[in-house]
Symmetry: C2
């Protein structure tokens, strides 16, 4: 039963990706080719306020801070959906490493901290309903530690996955006070 | 060997606690009893910038954001030690919970997010070299979800533990860019 569920999720994701590629393709052949992905790191993101934090195991193996620009934070705190134009939600993903120093102080191995930047160090969702109409009004972006945007082949999975939380305007992370 | 090390750390901590209690006791019997612990939550802390993030297993079982006020962040980024007067380093500790929603999307159990506030929800170190001279120039504080300060019996272990990182001005968390 579990296998079937996993398979179905996989198929559903694949269908989403294919459908999305069709949209992308349609867009890029249009006269005014709209950019689907954001390729510039938003200025000042490291000064943004905290939405929440998380840890991903598995291949990602990171610990992350999810941040929002002022427009996003204001909407989060007001519980306002959809997010207004100009909202940007970002996340920084550091490698997940045990802290020998902290463990020594605690007297047991229990502490995990943020290490260096991961391969998908920075990611942002930028709200611009017209520009990114094909992807739910959000432009997606991902950068490595050198600020190099992730290849488009890795980016086409963003929107299909985020459709799982369409009712929260495609944003997974909840604000934690 | 490991047991001996643990024991030695335990003894060292205990010695620190006892020594610290002696200092506290000396202070409170002085004519001008200086407050050792901070009992007021610093205003606007939820808007502060991110120093880093961490996860503690064991009894704490939390995921946390470490934040700094502008004075602290400026010093962190400049690599300036000791921290200047007025610097405040805070941390918010949320319960560490698996995200069924994220796991469903990822197709595997790998995602852990911030839940509700923990018993030691908020903690702050406030730099005031004169006021908190007895504890390395930092005043320590801890609050539950209702803003109630933790009992002093739980607070006397703060300074002895933080002495492990005296060379970093008693602050464990490193800034992660």
């Amino acid at each position: 039963m579990k296998r079937i569920t996993v398979l179905l999720v996989g198929v559903a994701t694949l269908v989403g990706v294919v459908a999305f590629m069709a949209i992308t393709s349609r867009h890029t052949t249009a006269q005014e080719a709209a950019p689907i992905f954001v390729t510039k790191i938003p200025a000042g993101y490291r000064d943004w306020k905290v939405v929440s934090v998380a840890h991903e195991e598995g291949d990602l193996n990171d610990i992350r801070a999810i941040l929002g620009n002022d427009v996003a934070i204001k909407a989060y705190r007001a519980g306002k959906l959809p997010f207004p134009e100009g909202a940007i939600v970002g996340r920084i993903a550091w490698s997940y490493v045990p802290s020998e120093e902290n463990n020594k102080t605690f007297g047991r191995a229990q502490s995990f901290v943020a290490g260096g930047p991961t391969d998908f160090y920075l990611q942002f969702m930028v709200k611009d309903s017209k520009r990114y109409a094909a992807t739910g009004g959000w432009g997606y972006s991902s950068f490595d530690k050198d600020g190099k945007p992730s290849p488009e082949s890795g980016m086409i999975t963003c929107f299909p996955c985020h459709q799982a939380v369409k009712e929260r305007d495609f944003i997974f992370t909840r604000y934690t006070p």
